[in-house]
């Protein structure tokens, strides 16, 4: 079997290999059709990818479909928009929770982006003693399970007798957002040519001018994707918020949690639809950064 295979290929391959490469002299580039010889659209890996994506979307589709259901349960009784009506007009608690979530997401993402981006610049471009320490430190919160971060913060705040509420949620969210912003901006800086900074300095720019006119514009895409990532994660977080929230600081995930404990709720179906649509919109707006985001998460 094995000896026959190469022999079969030799029937047509020599003609291709004998052809001298066209264009400038360099490594011989295998034609694209040749590279993708074993690459069929319906290969095993493609089928797996489609199956996994269907698996990922199937539950969301079910929930979205039933958000248009006329009745309460999961038995289809007809099309209706009443749950959207109830979501947008009859759910004041939910929107207050959403407001809290939004305030925390914006503020914590902003602070995390400023602090994290500065640190990325400092660590990527300068050498100093505690560099490795900060780098390792920034890595751990990302990998530690959320329960641990939540519990340790709860115990910390109660040890220093700090009242739980919006402020503690803000602190917790900034803490878990920092590493992601730091990583995304670092990834962007790795692609950046350091000599541009030296050129700016040589041409007489001050440190501050270099920062504002050279560094900031070049790292803006990384910073923006970090900010976006931080907002998404802050809006998403349930476990950590669960521990550090106090009376009157219910966020959207906490509110959803209190609702789904009582079983299927058509208003949550409608809310899911709204959230999924907005995430699709964000993904569309930031499609340029999806590869960077994939590399860092």
């Amino acid at each position: 079997m094995r000896t026959q295979q190469p022999a079969k290929r030799q029937i047509f391959e020599p003609t291709k290999l004998v052809d001298p490469p066209k264009g400038p002299i360099g490594p011989y580039r295998v034609p694209r059709s040749h590279v993708f010889r074993d690459h069929h659209w319906f290969g095993f890996s493609q089928i797996m990818l489609v199956v996994v994506i269907l698996f990922l979307f199937m539950p969301l589709f079910v929930v979205i479909t039933y958000s248009f259901n006329a009745s309460r349960g999961m038995r289809w009784t007809g099309f209706s928009l009443q749950w959207y009506h109830q979501l947008f007009t009859g759910s004041r608690e939910l929107w207050r929770a959403f407001g809290n979530s939004f305030i925390i997401a914006l503020s914590s993402a902003f602070v995390a982006t400023v602090i994290g981006s500065l640190a990325a610049v400092g660590i990527r471009w300068y050498r100093f003693k505690s560099r490795a320490f900060i780098q390792t430190l920034s890595f751990l919160p990302m990998i530690l399970p959320e329960v641990i971060i939540g519990i340790s913060m709860l115990i910390f705040f109660s040890a220093i007798q700090f009242p739980l509420g919006m402020v503690t949620i803000f602190i917790a969210h900034t803490t878990f957002n920092l590493p992601f912003v730091f990583l995304l901006v670092s990834a962007r800086l790795d692609e950046f040519d350091f000599s541009v900074i030296e050129a700016a300095r040589d041409l007489g720019a001050t440190e501050r001018q270099t920062l504002i006119k050279v560094i900031v514009p070049s790292i803006t895409p990384g910073v923006l994707s970090g900010f976006l990532m931080a907002i998404t994660m802050s809006l998403e977080d349930f476990v950590i918020t669960f521990f550090v929230s106090g009376p009157g600081s219910t966020t959207l995930p906490l509110y959803v949690y209190s609702m789904i404990r009582y079983g299927v709720s058509p208003v949550i179906n409608a809310l899911s639809m709204v959230l999924i649509l907005s995430i699709m919109l964000i993904a569309l707006l930031f499609r340029r950064f999806l590869k960077t985001i994939a590399a860092s998460s």
Binding site: V35, F44, Q46, L56, V62, R127, I148, L178, I260, R287
Partner: protein, 300 residues
């Protein structure tokens, strides 16, 4: 003279830029962790909190057979769920990396991943619960009259955990496979390797660091899972994360919760070190081999 001055300037600027993050993480991450370590060696207070007396009671309680059973169950669930996740994620990462429309497929992975985790768990409840989608559908067709008990099994917990964490595995796998030189697979095939051989002997060894990252990024969050077993699991899927939360909020045994947290932290740290060592090893290998690729070994 000048370079010396510049070095000092570099050091000063580096410290200035990164000090806020360093301080923030020390204050709100490292110190809370230190407090947990401290608390695990103290005696429990009557109404939560601790009393300032050294005690190893928390660690003795950890070896209670009930807790040990939960610990082994957590380990079992994490290993099974991680293994299935990686097996499913590998071909996905490969297919996305080889696709000409990478961003489209990445978006399809990232959109569910960004969707609120509670909403995703809720979607499974809506599908699997007694009045859920599956049961209602089967009832309306007339196959069943009573509801099938689809929730509160260990299998359900494992399925939902895979669902929650598979993007964590696909994304790093994609990133590493994307950097892989696919011509190596061609070369392996040309010198007589079968398709399976070229995958297992050429592709996998070359993307080892990505596989390790994917394993760590799925295993550790699953090992510390709390919401999934709480909402879709039953008695046979109570995990360490649930113990920790119950010890803090219900039983009010903070030292014991701290001891379990410390255990998960240690497991996670070992994982992170493994990951860093493996990616450092790969970087060193890339440096020594001239074309930036490892040597492809294929048996003929």
């Amino acid at each position: 003279m000048k370079s010396h001055e510049q070095e000092r300037r570099n050091r000063r600027l580096g410290v200035t830029y990164s000090a806020p993050m360093g301080l923030w993480l020390v204050l709100f991450f490292l110190i809370p962790l230190a407090i947990i370590i401290l608390y695990s060696f103290l005696r429990k207070g009557l109404y939560g909190g601790v009393e300032p007396h050294w005690s190893l009671a928390a660690y003795e309680q950890m070896f209670n057979p009930n807790f040990l059973r939960v610990l082994f169950r957590t380990l079992w669930i994490s290993v099974v769920a991680t293994a299935i996740t990686i097996i499913l994620a590998l071909p996905c990462g490969y297919a996305i990396a080889r696709s000409r429309n990478q961003v489209f497929w990445l978006a399809l992975v990232i959109i569910p991943f960004w969707t609120n985790s509670l909403i995703r768990i809720y979607a499974w409840i809506a599908i699997l619960s007694n009045e859920g989608f599956v049961n209602e559908a089967l009832r309306s067709v007339g196959i069943i009259r009573d509801s099938l008990q689809l929730m509160y099994h260990q299998g359900t917990v494992i399925t939902v955990l895979i669902y929650m964490y598979i993007p964590f595995a696909i994304l790093p796998l994609f990133t590493t496979i994307d950097k892989f030189d696919f011509q190596l697979l061609e070369a392996a095939r040309d010198i007589g390797a079968t398709k399976a051989q070229s995958i297992f002997k050429v592709l996998i060894p070359n993307i080892r660091s990505g596989v390790v990252t994917a394993v760590i990024f799925t295993f550790i969050p699953i090992f510390g899972a709390y919401t999934v077993p709480l909402l879709v699991g039953g008695k046979d899927s109570y995990m360490v994360g649930n113990i920790i939360v119950d010890q803090v909020t219900k039983t009010r045994n903070w030292p014991l919760a701290s001891a379990f947290s410390l255990l998960i932290t240690l497991v996670s740290t070992v994982g992170v070190v493994w990951m860093l060592v493996s990616s450092a090893g790969e970087r060193a290998r890339l440096k020594t081999s001239g074309n930036g690729r490892g040597t492809a070994e294929v048996n003929s």
